[in-house]
């Protein structure tokens, strides 16, 4: 039986690495970022437009990372995407409110 080439073995290893469940610290990291980003909704109306824009940007950056969570992390994906949606929409709402009041 011919031995697989080194490049094939590397590709297979990479494929397996991609398929494996996201390790726990990675999920915890996402949760920490979620907490940091969405922990300011209570005072969003007191933030500057630039600060709110930055938070919206971080929400948009977090979304695809949550979407990438595999089926074994389906619950976390569902819960945090829903919570992120509410938080992002509220920041957008706060921003439009600020712009309306101080055009």
């Amino acid at each position: 039986m011919p031995r697989p080439s080194a490049s094939f073995s590397t590709a297979l290893l990479l494929f397996c690495l991609l398929l494996r469940p996201l390790p726990l610290p990675a999920v915890e990291e996402l949760k920490a970022e979620f907490d940091a980003v969405c922990g300011k909704t209570h005072n969003a109306l007191n933030l500057s437009a630039a600060e709110i824009n930055e938070l919206i940007g971080r929400c948009d950056a977090l979304k695809p990372r949550l979407e990438k969570l595999g089926p074994e992390r389906g619950t976390e994906r569902k819960v945090f995407l829903q919570r992120l949606k509410m938080c992002r929409e509220f920041y957008a709402f706060a921003l439009s409110t600020k712009e309306e009041n101080c055009p």
């Binding site: 979620f34 907490d35 969405c38 922990g39 300011k40 909704t41 209570h42 005072n43 969003a44 109306l45 007191n46 389906g74 619950t75 976390e76 569902k78 819960v79 829903q82 919570r83 509410m86 938080c87 929409e89 509220f90 957008a92 709402f93 409110t97 309306e100 009041n101």
Partner: protein, 259 residues
């Protein structure tokens, strides 16, 4: 022959009337039934009875915000799609029903019969409720409609202290910045104006439960809506037709005398 024909027609008429009644008139829920939600995304498929969720018990202990923002329950019954696996991982019902904070949520079909499954999966079953509505609400201030409880008064006087933070789920936030109350002009002439209390609503709801999904604009007059739409379950009707005091309690909102 004539008699039996007459009797059959009479019976058909009665049946028709009975059906017409149920079709036309919606029975007003009893105080303990008000805010009750039945959830059956996966229950029957998994061989369990649908879940009967009573808002009155949960709202006496937790704020609306905690469950609908921090835990992530959608505002429309059944749209969250809660699965047993979600509860098992400590999300949704499992955030509290974990055997530590409260009795454990029933997770798998083969779970030993601990008796806890029936406490929620109880639709169509004769289950003795752990919390008796009458006994539980006995000392709470009375309301005219809905659960027959003035929940707002109960919270204000400290008869209930709804929890707004759940360790491991909620985010540690700064205290909420109070927003100003405002009045809304009623569309019908002679109808008292509405005083909308942001203060009272934020105690229960926080910000993002209402904005922007239910109320798009914060500027007075930006979100235009009518009582018809509210009765259809939109805007104020999202909560005030199902869980919070119902719309027939007019004077709770229309309180400012017409100038």
């Amino acid at each position: 022959m004539k008699k039996s024909l007459f009797f059959t027609l009479f019976l058909l008429l009665l049946t028709g009337l009975a059906l017409a009644q149920t079709g036309l008139k919606k029975r007003r829920p009893l105080p303990h039934e008000y805010g009750r939600v039945e959830l059956n995304n996966f229950s029957e498929k998994a061989g369990r009875a649908p879940v009967v969720f009573d808002h009155w018990l949960h709202r006496a202990k937790f704020t609306c915000r905690l469950c609908h923002v921090d835990i992530g329950f959608a505002m429309q019954a059944g749209s969250t799609g809660i699965a047993a696996a979600d509860n098992e991982r400590g999300y949704y019902c499992g955030a509290c029903h974990n055997g530590r904070t409260s009795f454990a949520a029933c997770s798998t079909k083969d779970q030993p019969a601990t008796g806890t499954c029936d406490r929620c999966h109880s639709a169509g079953k004769k289950v003795t409720r752990h919390y008796d509505f009458r006994a539980f609400t006995e000392k709470l201030p009375r309301g005219r409609f809905g659960n027959g409880i003035d929940w707002e008064q109960a919270e204000a006087e400290g008869s209930i202290t709804p929890v707004d933070f759940l360790a491991g789920v909620s985010i540690k936030r700064e205290a909420l910045t109070p927003q100003k109350d405002f009045d809304l002009t009623a569309k019908v002439a002679g109808m008292p104006e509405i005083i909308f209390s942001h203060q009272k609503h934020t105690v229960w709801n926080g910000c993002e439960l209402c904005h922007p999904e239910i109320f798009l604009g914060v500027k007075k007059g930006k979100t235009q809506y009518s009582m018809t739409e509210i009765y259809e379950g939109k805007y104020c009707g999202v909560c005030h037709s199902s869980v919070a005091f119902p719309l027939i309690d007019c004077q709770r909102c229309h309180i400012k005398p017409v100038r």
